[in-house]
Subunit: 329 residues, 2 copies
């Protein structure tokens, strides 16, 4: 009912619509309408009322609820099923629980605030409530094997980078899935999987984006390495439009990958990469080495030419060395 | 207490031990001893009693309980934590639940009967109660990546084949993990995993072995393709010894693989393989082809030489074509 009333108010635009008209159209009492209006106001909707004219919607809250997102979604898969939590511990944990309970391909879990959000290798990550875009997508691919699942984390990076670039902001991808602007980090992506050896049960891709975080809100230890879209843009960024754009990009890539394989997506990744062609330091499990990042191979691994020959990097941290930089820091 | 009483009876061997002596040694009343003896009898232990002499253990039930298994285990990792269910739906489901709740590396789930046991690709599998060895092992490897997890299914096959061969029975491995005797199937292995892209949360390897199933107990549709160890041996096989032997082999291989990588284990697999060097039909996702199985590569994939060139098989069913066989069946 709440959604139906909201739809009527949105359709009416600036025009007032009477409580009686709403009640008639939805087949409920005027008292019921009044109660729902009260609830919507409590949820942050700016609904004004005028004697003899009725109600008009002057502003919607900046929230990522299914009601607010649904009208913006273009696809037919991602976001058809949205699970919204105003606050949660972790959208990936929610996503895994939902997937274990049978949630379908393309289910999206969204939140305004994540209590225990973390990125790759359990690194901490924090975003003030309502200032990020924090969500997880459940995938149930049938056309590729568990061994190929790591490629989905590159796919997610391409989708996010494209959506951010559509806002006119210049960002690139650092291997495997960091989204950087001016060398600073904007996005965290954590991909998890449940699988048999020959079949993926599900993949959950968790994405956290620093959207409207002010510069002084970053903790001192990451002020030099992290930034937000609003800092880059110089103004607040519409989180709903951004999330809708990412879901659209992801769905397009996901459908293409299931149909044609990962090669075209890898080309898209290469075009957005800030790692390829650079001198890099690789912090791999058990060792550190340096070289030039040449390309990714058909598994998504980074190929690095070192003094001792070519290395294939499957896991680890890659930092791009400043131009003209020599020796160890 | 039950375990302590059992230990005393086992240590006494054929000698009778009085209820008073047991009560004294364990610091409990004679009534408590009597109650536990009654319980042990109910669980299948053949405990005889004689006036003025006491109790003696004449026979232990054929069960895979921790009490019965513990004395046979040689390792220090696999089986230190045993979860026993007389009946369960699936030891892999139990194993995943235990792993999600924090069960340590090497935890073993054992059952006498599995209600919904299934093998690769959800194929059904059934074994009468108490006639199989049905268990799952939880692994939490730290030295290899999720991409390498499929290799653990080959490791499990090597361990099981070695343990069965130690009984003097001639079995081999059909790629990737079927254990065959005379072309008939003896074992089902289902490996599942929960992972991030760069870190394995856990692997659960479920193993079901046809041990003491009589020929006429197999359903007609699998009588030509399945067999049991007792049929091969011509006598009942000790399930406890077999399970202990498998856990010992698995632990040895698992520790070696974590230390030195998978290459030596692959050599052990090759030595036990009945697939390599054979003409095979490969039923892969979306197609079927024929060729000669040459080797496995360093990912565990099967390399097959076909008329159209070399193929790398990562998933699918491989059937060995009878010698001199030509054309399609």
């Amino acid at each position: 009912m709440r959604k139906e009333i909201l739809d009527l108010l949105k359709t009416a635009g600036d025009t007032y619509i009477s409580g009686e008209e709403i009640a008639d159209k939805l087949g409920v009492t005027r008292t019921a309408v009044w109660k729902h209006i009260k609830e919507l106001r409590r949820a942050g909707y700016d609904i004004v009322s005028q004697a003899h004219s009725g109600y008009a919607l002057k502003g919607a809250p900046d929230v990522l609820t299914p009601e607010e997102l649904a009208p913006l979604l273009e696809g037919s898969l991602f976001g058809t099923n949205i699970l919204y939590h105003e606050e949660t511990r972790s959208t990936n944990e929610d996503g895994k629980a939902a997937a274990n309970a049978g949630a379908p391909d393309g289910t999206v879990v969204v939140t305004e605030f994540q209590g225990t959000g973390h990125g790759r290798l359990s690194r901490g990550w924090f975003c003030p409530k309502g200032e990020g875009v924090l969500f997880s997508v459940i995938l149930r691919p049938t056309s590729f094997l568990p061994q190929e699942a790591p490629k989905c984390t590159l796919l997610a990076a391409v989708a996010v980078a494209r959506a951010i670039r559509s806002l006119g902001l210049d960002v690139g991808i650092k291997w495997p899935n960091d989204i950087l602007a001016g060398g600073k980090k904007l996005v965290g992506i954590l991909t998890e999987m449940s699988a048999e050896m020959e079949r993926i049960h599900y993949i959950v891709i968790g994405i956290g984006i620093n959207v409207n975080i002010a510069a002084d809100e970053f903790s001192p230890d990451i002020q030099d390495t992290a930034t937000s879209l609003s800092i880059l843009a110089g103004h607040t960024v519409d989180r709903r439009q951004l999330l809708a754009a990412i879901l659209h990009e992801m769905e397009t890539l996901y459908i293409a990958v299931q149909k044609d394989g990962f090669a075209p997506m890898f080309d898209a990744w290469r075009a957005l990469s800030v790692t390829l062609g650079q001198d890099v330091s690789v912090l791999a499990p058990g060792e550190t080495f340096e070289g030039r990042a040449l390309d990714i191979d058909d598994t998504g691994a980074l190929l690095v030419d070192t003094a001792a020959g070519r290395r294939r990097v499957l896991a680890g941290d890659v930092s791009i060395r400043p131009k003209g930089w020599k020796g160890k820091r």
